[in-house]
């Protein structure tokens, strides 16, 4: 059982790291803001999600496991919001312009 759990964690975390590496490579290599944003959000969503899934068996208690999931959900929510704002800015909509910056 513990061998299976270990295997499951290893696979999840390695898969998560792959997404982070791919997201970073995309962030560095992609040509414009929107595609870079696409790469970045994959690292946030899937990369962190898979790492959290892999860590769950080792969190020790239900409370700690729940906290890990909540952290992932909060990062998702923040990432999605920021991605919307950067995306709108990149597309030239400026929905959240603070008035200081004029185009």
């Amino acid at each position: 059982m513990s061998v299976l759990l270990g295997l499951y964690s290893t696979v999840s975390i390695v898969a998560g790291i792959v997404f982070f590496v791919a997201g970073t490579v995309g962030l560095l290599r992609f040509p414009d803001s929107l595609t870079r944003l696409h790469a970045l959000t994959k690292a946030d969503n899937l990369g962190l999600g898979l790492i959290v899934l892999g860590l769950l068996p080792y969190s020790g208690s239900l409370g700690a496991a729940l906290k890990l999931v909540v952290i992932w959900a909060l990062v998702q929510f923040a990432g999605a919001t920021v991605a919307q704002m950067i995306g709108a800015l990149a597309a030239g909509e400026h929905p959240q312009s603070t008035g200081r910056r004029r185009r």
């Binding site: 909060l74 929510f77 999605a80 919001t81 704002m85 929905p95 959240q96 603070t98 008035g99 200081r100």
Partner: protein, 307 residues
């Protein structure tokens, strides 16, 4: 395995620091500074100093990063003045001397190393606190903690004084434009209540576990800033009487209890026996409220509109 991780963190710290110094413009330098703060957080975590790690993440990387970014956006972009070669060599040499001196202090401590740890562990029970760091900050280094909060208040006055005379006492930042959609208002509506709970929890848990007023106040200030950015609340006029009471409540309560300690406990900032825990709690709550207001207003910037 641990060695690889620690070595990697150390290399990253130095690498990001060098990159931040070499950064081409203000924005890149601030981004580097924030990343540097997060790497330092990891380093403190590896050292087991969770209180310091929390503070570094909240104040070193987070709040200071935001303040620097706002400051960078305010000043007009100017070509970086390149100091003469002699000045740069001098600055480099002085910096290296300071770094070497600090390294010598850390690496070659006198035997036994000066530390309050044992004493604090012995007397911690009398403060009613379970977190030795909280005990040091509130009992052994209360004067330092008091001055730290006053420094933040002075920094806020400095920020306010950057505004124009006509705007003195007015509201900071541009007026929020109501009715704008987008993802931020929804995000703020959902996150701010949760963030307020987390901020209060971090303050409360600071008595027995890593956490405390500075870290909690930073989270509360971040929630206020988020609500302001989303246009849900408007920045208060900086001349408001209630606001000024809010800002000064923490230092006033702290210095009041500290002065009361002279007749009651025999020294400035000493707590009468038996009342340590409730008094520390009162100070912590008042300081949290004031610090959160100070940090949020420092980020909000100097007044830019008339009352």
């Amino acid at each position: 395995m641990g060695l690889i991780l620690d070595g990697g963190i150390a290399l990253l710290t130095i690498g990001i620091a060098a990159w931040t110094i070499r950064a081409a413009d203000d924005f890149a330098a601030v981004v580097g500074f924030v990343a540097y703060g997060l790497i330092l957080t990891l380093a403190w975590t590896r050292l087991g100093a969770y209180d310091v790690a929390l503070t570094e993440a909240a104040i070193g990387g987070g709040a200071t990063g935001v303040i620097l970014m706002r400051a960078g956006a305010r000043v007009k972009p100017a070509p970086a003045a390149r100091a003469s070669k002699r000045a740069r060599i001098l600055v480099g040499a002085l910096s290296a001397a300071v770094a070497a001196g600090l390294a010598a202090i850390v690496l070659l401590p006198p035997e036994p190393a000066p530390s309050l740890a044992l004493e604090v562990r012995e007397h911690l029970a009398s403060t009613g606190l379970g977190n030795p760091i909280g005990g040091v900050l509130m009992a052994y280094r209360a004067a330092d903690t008091f001055l730290e909060t006053v420094v933040v208040l002075l920094a806020l006055f400095g920020v306010w004084s950057l505004g124009r005379d006509a705007h003195w006492g007015g509201r900071p930042g541009p007026a929020p434009r109501a009715g704008e959609g987008g993802a931020l208002p929804l995000f703020a509506r959902v996150l701010v209540p949760a963030g307020i709970v987390i901020g209060i929890y971090i303050v409360w848990v600071g008595a027995d576990a890593p956490g405390g007023k500075f870290q909690g106040a930073t989270i509360l200030a971040a929630m206020a800033i988020l609500a302001g950015m989303a246009g849900l609340v408007e920045a208060p006029a900086t001349s408001g009487r209630r606001l000024r009471w809010l800002l000064s409540a923490g230092p006033i309560v702290f210095v009041g209890i500290g002065l009361a300690g002279i007749p009651l406990a025999g020294a400035f900032l000493a707590y009468p026996p038996g009342f340590e825990k409730p008094l520390i709690l009162v100070i912590e709550v008042a300081l949290t409220v004031s610090l959160a207001a100070m940090l949020a207003l420092i980020v909000a910037g100097p007044p830019e509109r008339a009352k």
